[in-house]
Structure formats: structure tokens, C-alpha cells
């Protein structure tokens, strides 16, 4: 399959600090891949470069054959990339269903005058919006919470709502920033299943940032390891587990002796 997103030589600096350094990266269509690395390795910065929040100083990012680096975030979202945030960022004072409705923004076309006059097209579109928002809430199992303020939802529900909001923009590529952060093992296992189901149901490509090694190893088809902004390893989960440079980055120098196991990597996270 062809790669849906290709990054070449991407570099992002903050003053003297090189947050992402000459990064090459690609992800196949319909794949689930992860970017891992210690704190401050540049994972979220890389996400921000893809979604247009940061403009990389060098390099190109190509999405479905079009260069997107430096485009404004709203344009990139309209092209089919959506994301969630490490520390949940819902529209707190809006209801759950309104959050989803906002997500549909780039897929709607009518203007304010349609809204004032209530043209037939507008009425049709609003009905479609509402129906789809309910469908999405049903899909993530939050229909009962539809009319509750987003910040009153339980933690796990907020995570799922954020995903629903991203799905509402009909993305082809979904970026999830630590989707299982702060979850207990039970919830984490559910989330892993949910992510897989997402990919299959919506024909998505999913790119994760994740700290939890168990999650990364179970779910990813490909893992990219960053350290100090540089890619130090890439490959299948099994290969990554055995890679001495990865272990060194996570556990420090000298820890690379002995056979690393999933458990070791896990506890390191």
C-alpha cells in the first residue's frame, strides 16, 4: 500500500533547541503506527508540525501527494487530518453533542445568511448535522451524555468524546496523542480494542503517541522511536524491543546488557 503521509528531513527549532531533527517518516494507508520516545523527545512537536500548529524550518510533509507543511491548521484539517490532545481539550462549556457538531465544521458549507433566513438547504443541512452527531455519539456509546456539558463527563468518556469530535471532521488520518494516559488497565484494554475498531469501521490510518509500552507493543504495526528529536529506531514491535539503542534511550547507558523483554520496556515507561 502507498504511504498516506510522508515526512522528509523535517526539522523544527525553538531558539537553540532542536526539537525535531531531520526526521524522515512515513505511514502506510490503513496502518496503525506509533511514535514513542522519552519525555521531550519531540513527539508532540512532530504532531504539531503535521497539523500545522508549528511550521518546520526545513523539510517537507506530504499528505496524499500534497505538500502540507506550513499550511494553516484549519486547512490541514479540511484535507483530512484530525487529532486529539494529550491533556484533553474539549470545548468545556459546550455540551457533548455540540462538541461533535463543531467537529463537522469543515464538512459544512452554508453561510450565515442561510442561517438567518433558514433556507431549505440550511434546514436540511442542520438536520443532517444533528443526525450524524447522534450517530457518532451512539458509536462511542455516549448518547446518554449528549446534552451534558463536556467537562462534566467522566474522564474516559471525555477521551472518547474527543475522538468522536475528531471523527466528525471525516479524517483519513487520525492522530491520537496518548489516548490511554491516565487510564486504568481495564480502560486501557478497552481503548486498544476501540482504536482497532475505529480503524476498521472508518477505514482510517491512525498514528499514536504513546507512553504505555504495553499499548504500543500490542497495537502498533510500526513503531518509530525518537530521542532528542532524532529518529533512533524504526520497525516492527518485536524489533524495537530488541534494539539496544532504544533500551539505552529509555533506561540509560549500561542497561543494554542482558535480554530486554516487553516487561522491562513496560516498566521503563
Amino acid at each position: 500500500m502507498a504511504p498516506i503521509l510522508v515526512a522528509r528531513h523535517v526539522t523544527k527549532r525553538f531558539g537553540g533547541l532542536v526539537a525535531v531533527n531531520d526526521l524522515d517518516f512515513e505511514i502506510e494507508e490503513h496502518a496503525i503506527a506509533s511514535v514513542i520516545g522519552p519525555n521531550g523527545a519531540g513527539k508532540t512537536t512532530f504532531f504539531n508540525c503535521i497539523t500545522g500548529f508549528y511550521v518546520p524550518e526545513e523539510g517537507t510533509i506530504t499528505f496524499e501527494g500534497k505538500e502540507i507543511q506550513g499550511l494553516r491548521p484549519d486547512k490541514i484539517t479540511s484535507m483530512g487530518i484530525a487529532r486529539t490532545y494529550q491533556n484533553i481539550r474539549l470545548f468545556a462549556k459546550m455540551s457533548a453533542i455540540e462538541n461533535v457538531m463543531v467537529g463537522m465544521h469543515p464538512r459544512l458549507s452554508l453561510h450565515w445568511w442561510d442561517a438567518v433566513v433558514h433556507t431549505p438547504a440550511f434546514v436540511r443541512q442542520e438536520r443532517r448535522v444533528l443526525r450524524r452527531a447522534w450517530e457518532l455519539l451512539d458509536y462511542i456509546g455516549l448518547a446518554d451524555w449528549a446534552n451534558h456539558q463536556a467537562n462534566s463527563l467522566p474522564y474516559g468518556a471525555q477521551r472518547r468524546l474527543e475522538i468522536a469530535r475528531a471523527l466528525a471532521s471525516e479524517p483519513k488520518l487520525l492522530l491520537l496523542d496518548e489516548p490511554t494516559a491516565g487510564m486504568n488497565p481495564q480502560e486501557t484494554a478497552e481503548m486498544i480494542e476501540f482504536i482497532r475498531k475505529l480503524r476498521d469501521d472508518w477505514d482510517l490510518t491512525i498514528l499514536l503517541i504513546e507512553h504505555d509500552m504495553k499499548v504500543v507493543m500490542t497495537i502498533s504495526e510500526k513503531i518509530t522511536v525518537l530521542d532528542f528529536g532524532t529518529k533512533i529506531a524504526e520497525g516492527k514491535p518485536e524489533d524495537i524491543q530488541r534494539n539496544p539503542r532504544v533500551i539505552e534511550a529509555y533506561l540509560g547507558r549500561g542497561a543494554a546488557s542482558g535480554l530486554p523483554t516487553a516487561q522491562a520496556a513496560d516498566s521503563a515507561a
Binding site: 497539523t51 500548529f53 494553516r72 491548521p73 484549519d74 484539517t77 479540511s78 484530525a82 487529532r83 490532545y85 481539550r89 470545548f91 468545556a92 462549556k93 459546550m94 455540551s95 453533542i97 455540540e98 457538531m101 463543531v102 467537529g103 465544521h105 469543515p106 459544512l108 452554508l110 453561510h111 450565515w112 442561510d114 442561517a115 438567518v116 433558514h118 440550511f122 442542520e126 438536520r127 448535522v129 444533528l130 443526525r131 452527531a133 447522534w134 450517530e135 451512539d138 458509536y139 449528549a146 446534552n147 456539558q149 469530535r165 471523527l167 471532521s169 469501521d201 472508518w202
Partner: protein
């Protein structure tokens, strides 16, 4: 809640004293003393006595003894009021020895006399003051330990009796005078009238509370969320519309003064609806809002005036242009400033408001805009042969303006644009990541706000008949901002509540106008600290499933 101690009570008493001193030093006490509320009790008395009442009440409400040792709670109130009054008494005692008036202009002998109940002997006066403070604090502290129905009934009963007393001369100009006549003296309530009103209102409010309480216990979540039947809402809206249509000619008796106050309130409502889009929906703090009001007003003034500066168009020809010019100004100003962060926006718009005023005032533009002398001789709008020259006739024009702006604001709110505005208000970065074009979305909010303000300004010019640059100062912007915050940010009915409370009341109490800005400032801070959602908070929209939704929940 911290455990209550005598020490915290004394602290509350000291705070009470400081607040009472502050009130006395602002001069409110004396300048409001010419308005009687009940018999000889004037608004001046009420203002500083309210400090003891409110503080006694609040102390009691927050007291942890309310459940453990209820008998001590009124004593607490007594102490708070007493200490507060004693501190206040220091002002006349000290002030009669040392002249303070070169610092505090209000500390004149007649203030001291007033505070000491006009007693010859200082000792007697001080004793009166302290006893009054203690008594008021103690009585107010009783309320929270009474049963809820009594508590709420008495609280609202007393509040509204006072309000009626304050507004007595105005109430007597309305059609209600027939009913109220026996209760009122020439100015203020008769003591007997006050007592009757207090009892009746207390009972009514008590019953209301009891009824609401029962409703609340009975109803489940669904009932609260579910909509009332369509016919009930129709009837309700019909009644409201009917009331609004007959208000100036029936209830207000075509009274020119009362109707002019209502018209002013209504003009502020139009502005409030506009600024509510900018601040309430989209979360952009615009402090130069008066500029668009001025642009609307000057457009109508210059186009229609029959004076030297005018161009002889009719009001109806000028009105659309006024709205459009305001809108264009909004967009032109918006483009550079809307790319900035929120707090810069506040200052730049503030500066813009000042620029417009300075330009209108300048000699440079005097040949076109009249400079400080303003534009005079603006004719009233006419419908065919009917010239809307009376305030009660203009009322309908302004009411139409409110309906139109209200309609547009509601429609926009429930659309893609409205949702984008709210998203923007909640989190700009995420909104952008959701595909919302920040600048156009903000511009749209800014443009609508400006257009509404322009509309209001256009009607204002025609209503008043003349415009001067000094009318359009920052205070109007702050007025509008305060009223939407007091009413409830983002809430349309809140705009009405805010305008009535912050424009209507001060306008009716002319003695109060000097303290208006002080009042707004304090209102802004207190609301943000205590009740940031406002007095009529925005309700969360409720969305039900579309009826034709039958298909299975699949992507």
C-alpha cells in the same frame, strides 16, 4: 467552610466597618438622603444600613454554627453589625475634631450630623448608630436560621418593598397608581403602606418558593430537559408580545419621562445583543464598542440634519447606510486586531473608541462633523404622514429593532457559525484545529456586533435630536459590557435583565448617576468573583434526536 469562631466574627465586623466607612466617604449617604423610601427613612440611610444587614446576613449564612448552635447565630449578627457601626461612628467622632475635608471632600459637618441621627449630643448619636447597626445585623442574621420558606419570603419581600419605596414617585406615574395610591405618601411609602406591602410580598414570595420547591422535588431529569408543549410556549410568547405592545400607552400612561427611560434601556438592549455576540458568543473582549454606536449616530445625524451640516435625507434612507458603515468600520478595525491575542484586543479596541471620539471632537473634521458643538436639528423619523415625535411612538421603532436583532442573534447562534464562535471562545487553538478559519469567524462576530451597535446609534440620534462627541465616551462601552456580564455572558434574556438593572435603575434614580460608574466597577468585580454566570445564565441547548432517525448507528 472554616469553623466559625468569635475571632472570625470580629473580623467580619471589622470588614463591615471598613465597607461602611467606604460608603460614607464616597458621599453616597448624603446625596441619596433626599430620596425618602419609607416615611423619614431615606435612601441615604438605606445605603449604609444595608451594609450591616448584608454583612450580618452573609456572616450568618456562612456560619458553621447554623446547624450546631443556632441560638448563637443572631448574636453573631449583632456583633458584626455592632462592630461595624462602631467603626463607622469613629468617622463623625474623629472628623469633628480634625478637619479632613481637604482630603475627603465629602467629610462635611452635615454628613456627621446625618450619621448621628441629627442628635445634639455626640454620645447619644453614637449610641443610636451602634444600636441600629447591631439590631440590623442581628435581625438579618435571623433569616438563615428560619425555615427556608420564611427565609426566602421575608428576604424577597423586604427587598421588593424597599425597591418600590425607592421608585415610589415613578410608580405613581404609571397606571398602577390607582392601586398603589393609598400606600404612598407624596414621596416614599407610608409606614402603614410599607408594612402592608412587606407582608403581602413576603407571603407571595414565600408561596412561590414553596411551590418551586415542590416542583423540583417532583420532577425528574426528563421533565426539566423536556420541552414544554408548543401551545404553552405560544401562549406565553403571545402574552409577552401583547404586554410589550401596550406597555408605553397603557402601563406607562404615555408618560414622556418613563417612556424615554424605557427607550434608552431598549437601545442598550440592542447594543447589548450585539456585544453579546462579540463577547458572549465568540469570547472577544471589545472595549471600543461605543465607536460603532457613534458611527451609526453620526451617519444619521449628518445625513438627515436640517442644520448646516446636514444633507437632507430621510431617516429611512440614512438608517441602512448607518448600519452598513458601522459594519464596515467593524470589519476594517477587526482585520488588524483580530489576529492578536485576547488582551491586546481589549486595549486596541479601547484605543479605537477613543480615536473616533477625538476625531469627532477635532478642529480638523469640524467642517464636516461639527467638532465639539456636535450636530443639531436631527428630524424625527416619519412613517408617511405620521412623525414619530413622542417617546411612546419611538418605542415601537426601537422595539422593532430589538426583535430584528434578537431574531438574527438567535438564528446565528443555532448554526455552524454560532457553534464556531463558541468553540473559539472555549479554545482558540483547538477551534482552529477543528477546521475553523479564525479570522473570518471572528470578523463575522465583530461585524454583527458593530452593525447592531450602529443600528442602536442611528435610532439614538433620531431620538435625541442632536449628537455631541462627548456623548460617545468609554463609559458607554463599559455600560454595555457590564450589563451583559451582570445579565449572564452569552445569554439573550440576560441582556434584558442587565439593561433593566444597570441602565434602567440608575436612570430612574437620578441622584445615583454620580455613582453609576463606581457601581459598574464594583459590579464587574463582584460578579466575576461570586456569580460569573450572571443573574440569568445561559442555558445549555438541548438537542433531541431527529424524528426520522431510524437507521442503525453505523458509520
Amino acid at each position: 467552610m472554616q469553623a466559625t469562631t468569635w475571632r472570625s466574627t470580629i473580623k467580619a465586623g471589622l470588614l463591615t466597618g471598613v465597607i461602611a466607612l467606604y460608603v460614607a466617604l464616597t458621599g453616597m449617604v448624603l446625596s441619596l438622603s433626599k430620596r425618602p423610601v419609607v416615611d423619614k427613612l431615606s435612601l441615604g440611610h438605606v445605603v449604609y444600613m444595608l451594609v450591616f444587614v448584608v454583612m450580618g446576613y452573609l456572616t450568618a449564612r456562612r456560619s458553621s454554627w447554623r446547624t450546631t448552635r443556632p441560638a448563637l447565630v443572631p448574636v453573631q449578627g449583632l456583633v458584626v453589625g455592632g462592630i461595624g457601626a462602631a467603626l463607622l461612628a469613629l468617622l463623625p467622632v474623629f472628623g469633628q475634631q480634625v478637619d479632613l475635608s481637604w482630603i475627603f471632600v465629602t467629610t462635611k459637618p452635615n454628613l456627621y450630623k446625618f450619621l448621628l441621627f441629627n442628635q445634639e449630643s455626640m454620645a447619644v448619636g453614637v449610641a443610636y448608630l451602634v444600636l441600629t447597626g447591631a439590631a440590623l445585623g442581628g435581625i438579618a442574621a435571623l433569616l438563615p436560621i428560619l425555615p427556608e420558606v420564611l427565609h426566602q419570603g421575608l428576604l424577597y419581600g423586604a427587598g421588593f418593598t424597599l425597591l418600590l419605596g425607592v421608585l415610589s414617585d415613578l410608580a405613581q406615574r404609571t397606571v398602577l397608581k390607582v392601586v398603589l395610591k393609598p400606600l404612598f405618601a407624596y414621596k416614599g411609602l407610608k409606614p402603614s403602606g410599607a408594612l402592608i406591602l412587606f407582608v403581602v410580598l413576603s407571603v407571595l414570595f414565600g408561596l412561590r418558593h414553596w411551590w418551586l420547591q415542590r416542583q423540583r422535588e417532583r420532577s425528574t431529569m426528563e421533565v426539566i430537559l423536556g420541552e414544554r408543549p408548543a401551545w404553552a410556549r405560544g401562549v406565553q410568547q403571545g402574552l409577552l408580545l401583547g404586554f410589550l405592545l401596550i406597555l408605553p400607552v397603557w402601563l406607562l400612561n404615555k408618560d414622556a419621562y418613563l417612556n424615554s427611560v424605557v427607550n434608552l434601556v431598549n437601545l442598550y438592549i440592542i447594543m447589548g445583543l450585539g456585544l453579546n455576540i462579540v463577547v458572549g458568543f465568540a469570547g472577544l473582549l471589545d472595549l471600543g464598542y461605543v465607536a460603532f454606536f457613534a458611527i451609526g449616530a453620526y451617519t444619521v445625524a449628518l445625513m438627515t440634519s436640517t442644520g448646516d451640516l446636514g444633507h437632507g435625507y430621510t431617516f429611512w434612507q440614512a438608517l441602512p447606510l448607518a448600519v452598513i458603515l458601522a459594519l464596515v468600520a467593524g470589519v476594517v478595525l477587526g482585520i488588524p486586531v483580530l489576529r492578536m491575542r485576547g488582551d491586546y484586543l481589549a486595549i486596541v479596541t479601547l484605543g479605537f473608541g477613543e480615536i473616533i471620539r477625538i476625531l469627532a471632537n477635532s478642529d480638523w473634521l469640524k467642517p464636516f462633523m461639527g467638532g465639539a458643538l456636535g450636530v443639531l436639528d436631527i428630524p424625527k423619523p416619519a412613517l408617511g404622514n405620521l412623525v414619530l415625535k413622542e417617546e411612546y411612538q419611538l418605542y415601537y421603532l426601537i422595539l422593532a429593532g430589538i426583535f430584528i436583532t434578537w431574531f438574527i442573534a438567535t438564528r446565528l447562534y443555532h448554526s455552524r457559525v454560532g457553534r464556531a464562535w463558541q468553540a473559539l471562545r472555549e479554545d482558540e487553538d483547538v477551534a482552529e484545529a477543528m477546521g475553523i478559519h479564525l479570522v473570518t469567524t471572528k470578523l463575522l462576530a465583530f461585524g454583527f456586533g458593530a452593525a447592531f451597535s450602529g443600528l442602536s446609534g442611528a435610532i439614538f440620534a433620531a431620538k435625541v435630536g442632536s449628537v455631541y462627541p462627548h456623548t460617545f465616551n468609554l463609559i458607554i462601552s463599559i455600560n454595555v459590557l457590564s450589563l451583559i456580564i451582570v445579565g449572564g455572558i452569552g445569554s439573550l434574556p440576560g441582556v434584558v435583565v442587565g439593561a433593566l438593572a444597570l441602565v434602567g435603575l440608575p436612570e430612574l434614580l437620578r441622584e445615583f448617576s454620580e455613582y453609576r460608574m463606581l457601581f459598574y466597577g464594583i459590579a464587574l468585580i463582584t460578579m466575576m468573583l461570586v456569580k460569573p454566570e450572571g443573574f440569568w445564565p445561559k442555558k445549555l441547548n438541548v438537542y433531541s434526536r431527529p424524528q426520522d432517525d431510524t437507521g442503525p448507528a453505523t458509520p
